[in-house]
Point group: C2
Chain length 379, copies 2
């Protein structure tokens, strides 16, 4: 594989952009939604089915994979693409967020983080250098800097300390990044819920010169309006020609509003996790298939979906599978949700190219409220 990592903006509509990331492993049309393959699998999906739905890149996690099966093991087995049978682009998170959210007994200092595995309690160390080394061993196409992420709400002094630490770690991550043809490294904007800190972080990262820029530490407890305000204040300070990735977000409505403000990339566990818990995302809003009113409903989840599962199986059958704890229920609802997300990204890209993104937003929101593919909206 040869070639550079490139990003081109193909059209704009207001602040929204439609573009294309080119990597030696394939192209990624933006705005892009990356299904989450935490432990080297998009849960309950065959990788070829993930691709067939339109996903062009998936996310995997440094934190999970370093603990099990181990980065060196995956490297020995030919790298993560080979390991998980996904030959297309992979973005890897650096572990900073998971250390905050999952690990036990964290000890953080200038050097990095010492923590205990949530799996077996074993002691591990992550530093900017090691996080980049692991992502190189995995063979990541887009590596993320190692950062410190705080939960919100958070005292401003604490958020500032973490933001400044993340900037110093950004420099060390940048220096430790193992540059290979076509591989990219992204910086991560931190700064809690304070506009000034977000801007300070964005400007400093832009000066370092990354291949792309992520917004981290959002959707971690703050009101949605705060998240949207942080996006809006940050983006003008990032290089306009580089991809912008909003980490860990979100609902379809979140995606819409973030794209409207200029975000190009997303990842979120929502469609996969919701699918394993009986929820379906559709053009007509969210359905809770556990709800007894679906028990006798012969209608499919969405007769116009691109997903065979959404068109084929009755709500009554999905209700039965969910109530019975059947794995097929999780498989079908994961498929339905990821297909909806991919179709939705495709629709957004088309609306941006056509210059009618605001109208598209209005129509999407109205359809979600209507609750109509055939019934009322749940929840």
């Amino acid at each position: 594989m040869t070639g550079d990592f490139r990003f081109e903006i193909l059209s704009r509509d207001g602040a929204a952009r439609a573009g294309m990331i080119t990597t030696p492993r394939g192209t990624v049309r933006t705005p892009a939604f990356m299904p989450v393959g935490t432990a080297g699998t998009v849960k309950a999906m065959h990788p070829e089915a993930v691709k067939a739905q339109g996903a062009e890149i998936v996310l995997a996690n440094t934190y999970h994979l370093m603990l099990r099966p181990g980065a060196e093991r995956i490297a020995t087995l030919g790298g993560l693409h080979e390991f998980m049978n996904w030959p297309w682009p992979i973005l890897t998170d650096s572990g900073g967020f998971q250390v905050m959210s999952l690990a036990k007994l964290r000890k953080l200092d200038e050097n990095g983080v010492t923590f205990q595995s949530h799996i077996d309690g074993a002691r591990h160390v992550l530093t900017p250098k090691r996080a980049m080394e692991i992502q190189d061993l995995l063979g990541s196409d887009i590596a993320m800097q190692f950062d410190e992420c705080v939960r919100l709400p958070c005292a401003e002094a604490e958020a500032r300390r973490a933001m400044l630490m993340s900037l110093r770690w950004a420099e060390r991550s940048r220096a430790a990044f193992v540059a290979k043809p076509g591989r990219a490294v992204f910086g991560i904007v931190q700064g809690g819920a304070a506009e000034a800190m977000r801007i300070e972080s964005a400007k400093a990262l832009a000066d370092m010169g990354f291949d792309g820029y992520a917004l981290g530490g959002l959707a971690v407890g703050e009101p949605r309006t705060v998240m949207l305000a942080m996006i809006a204040c940050t983006l003008p300070w990032l290089p306009p020609g580089k991809p912008r990735y909003l980490m860990g977000v979100g609902t379809p409505d979140d995606l819409l509003e973030a794209v409207r403000r200029g975000i190009d990339m997303f990842d979120c566990v929502l469609p996969t996790r919701a699918g394993r818990h009986g929820l379906a995302y559709t053009r007509a809003g969210r359905l809770n298939l556990r709800n007894a009113r679906h028990a006798g409903d012969p209608a499919p989840v969405d007769p116009l979906s691109s997903s065979t599962a959404a068109r084929t199986y009755s709500r009554a059958y999905l209700h039965h599978l969910v109530k019975s704890g059947e794995i097929l229920g999780m498989m079908l609802l994961t498929e339905i949700n990821l297909a909806y997300y991919q179709d939705f990204m495709e629709d957004m890209r088309r609306a941006i190219a056509a210059g009618c993104f605001d109208d598209f937003c209005d129509a999407a929101k109205m359809a979600w409220r209507s609750g109509e593919t055939s019934g009322k909206r749940d929840e």
Copy 2:
């Protein structure tokens, strides 16, 4: 759908037979293995994938489906084929075995069985008439008589009482069977581990004139030699031109020995359940993917399998998925196991047609012992 239920024997090799069952919903080549779709789903498999592997009929359970979602509900929704998106033949068990193995607080008398649901404790009654009615509501292509099944070992007097009860219930089931074009009803031979009782049961059922005959109450605790002896003593007393179904069996080796004695049909949870617990059935015997020795093994489960999953994913990856409790691990190992079972049935049919079944048996057993697709056999 029109047409009769028919069974033709196309070739014989010793006592082994290769044939074809014809139903309005499709043909079933025998010897046939029926994947188990207890609650209206072959666990962790898309129905179209089950069919693509070569399955031509699946089994579903009266007991499970009457409790959830209910037979009347399935009928209202267009029947079980429509409900589970499996338009091909379905055989339904009558519930007798599950009442014995799963239900709580059973009370059995001449009329039938009163029991509590294992799901919610609700009280239910199954009688021969109701068991046949439920199977008609489901739209079963092959219905089973309602029977009483005892665990082995069992006092001979108790086994005899249950066998005679099952015969009286066979008559009532036969009378209550809702005959529709192309639908069949099978009797079930009982009689514990006593040859004389098995023969008595088989003769009485043959006199009643069923469309096929099952051997029930085997693989319920008795030594394998006893099971094979019961098969051998029973089959000569069944009408030679009707299909013979060994219920709930078994390992590949069990299937081989049962086919050698003249069995035509099987169902068993083993390939699906084992797949959900990290075990792979292959030409080279059984692999336990939990075993640490697979952690670094880049070899596939079986490079010559008809299953893409068996050829594509490394043992190391499957080990990782199993250790991580990932649903994809259950999906892939279920696929691998059911594909092996279907390939194995196809190989047996071909060997019978070619008149070399004994040689095929020797070769299959040798391959299982060898442990070679690439490594040693596990436990």
